[in-house]
């Protein structure tokens, strides 16, 4: 994970022809993070291509599948992620204001939100699997193709999203440790800022996943 140490010294050549260092280019690091986020957007984009095409092809079955997903849990998860996005953004405000304890509290809360989200997902998937609805299950294979596609996309997209939640939580945890250790401060908080960006992306994707799977009714 050596590349995660985003402390980069803006360099260049000064008048004596020797290397300048020790000025961290936060904007550059932020640009690098946004570029990485674009790749993540397109990564999920490929799956949204599939969703769009298959929704066009099987609208009634997507509707039927959507009814079998629990709108309340979906909404709860949406709220959990939205709140966690708020607390992550707030933790950055806290660090900028040198309020270390508040930053820590916000971060811990955000990570807890991530755990809640994953626990909800675990129960959702568990329930579906228990009802014989999972990739290549007897029910899906012998049932309507449109339903199979709906749930296939559901598992793939929420699965990939779940992986990103785990990665996001890891980044936030590292940021938390660095804040506690005093390595992330009001003058140097790129790690926190960029982990936050990643977390917001996870939230963004879910904002679309929620209506596409739970509200197509």
């Amino acid at each position: 994970m050596i590349f995660l140490k985003l402390q980069h010294r803006s360099r260049g050549v000064n008048d004596e022809g020797s290397c300048m260092n020790n000025r961290i280019d936060k904007t550059g690091i932020k640009i690098g993070m946004w570029l990485f986020l674009y790749s993540e957007i397109i990564l999920f984009g490929g799956l949204f291509v599939l969703y769009a095409v298959y929704f066009y092809k099987y609208p009634e079955f997507f509707s039927e599948g959507g009814k079998e997903l629990n709108r309340v849990i979906g909404a709860a998860n949406t709220i959990v992620l939205l709140v966690s996005s708020f607390t992550v953004a707030a933790s950055i405000t806290a660090i900028q204001r040198k309020a270390k304890k508040q930053a820590i509290a916000f971060l811990v809360f955000s990570i807890l939100c991530g755990i809640i989200f994953l626990v909800n997902k675990y129960f959702e998937w568990g329930a579906k699997i228990h009802h014989d609805i999972y990739p290549n299950s007897e029910t899906l294979v012998s049932g309507e193709p449109g339903l199979n596609i709906f749930f296939g996309l559901y598992y793939v997209i929420t699965g990939l999203h779940g992986l990103h939640v785990i990665v996001g939580m890891t980044l936030l945890s590292i940021s938390l440790i660095l804040v506690m250790a005093g390595k992330v401060t009001e003058s140097s908080y790129s790690m926190l800022e960029n982990s936050g960006l990643y977390w917001h992306l996870v939230d963004l994707i879910w904002i679309f996943v929620f209506p596409l799977f739970y509200l197509v009714l």
Binding site: K26, I42, F208
Partner: protein, 95 residues
């Protein structure tokens, strides 16, 4: 390399307002889903989702306060996403 970095701070109040808006929009989209608007259910849900996403991007992700490189490249990325989906429909919609 600029020595004055953009250290724009968003206050807790402002952030909370944004969260409030997002939660309201979530409530609206769930409420709308209980009503049968026929064809318009999906576009409505997507429109609300796009609005929510815009708020997260502009404020939580600070996009409103970023420079042209990030703004333009973000628009470029979304454009490519639209092309990915849109151009595929030249095939799928006319089979």
């Amino acid at each position: 390399m600029d020595s004055q970095e953009n250290n724009h701070i968003l206050s807790y109040t402002k952030l909370a307002i944004i969260l409030g808006i997002l939660l309201i929009l979530t409530g609206i989209t769930v409420a709308v889903s209980y009503r049968d608007l026929g064809f318009f259910n999906v576009p409505m849900a997507l429109a609300i989702a796009c609005t929510k996403v815009t708020f997260v991007l502009l404020f939580f992700m600070h996009l409103k306060y970023e420079g042209p490189i990030i703004n333009l490249s973000f628009i470029g990325t979304i454009s490519f996403l639209f092309i990915m989906i849109g151009f595929t429909f030249w095939d799928v919609a006319f089979r």
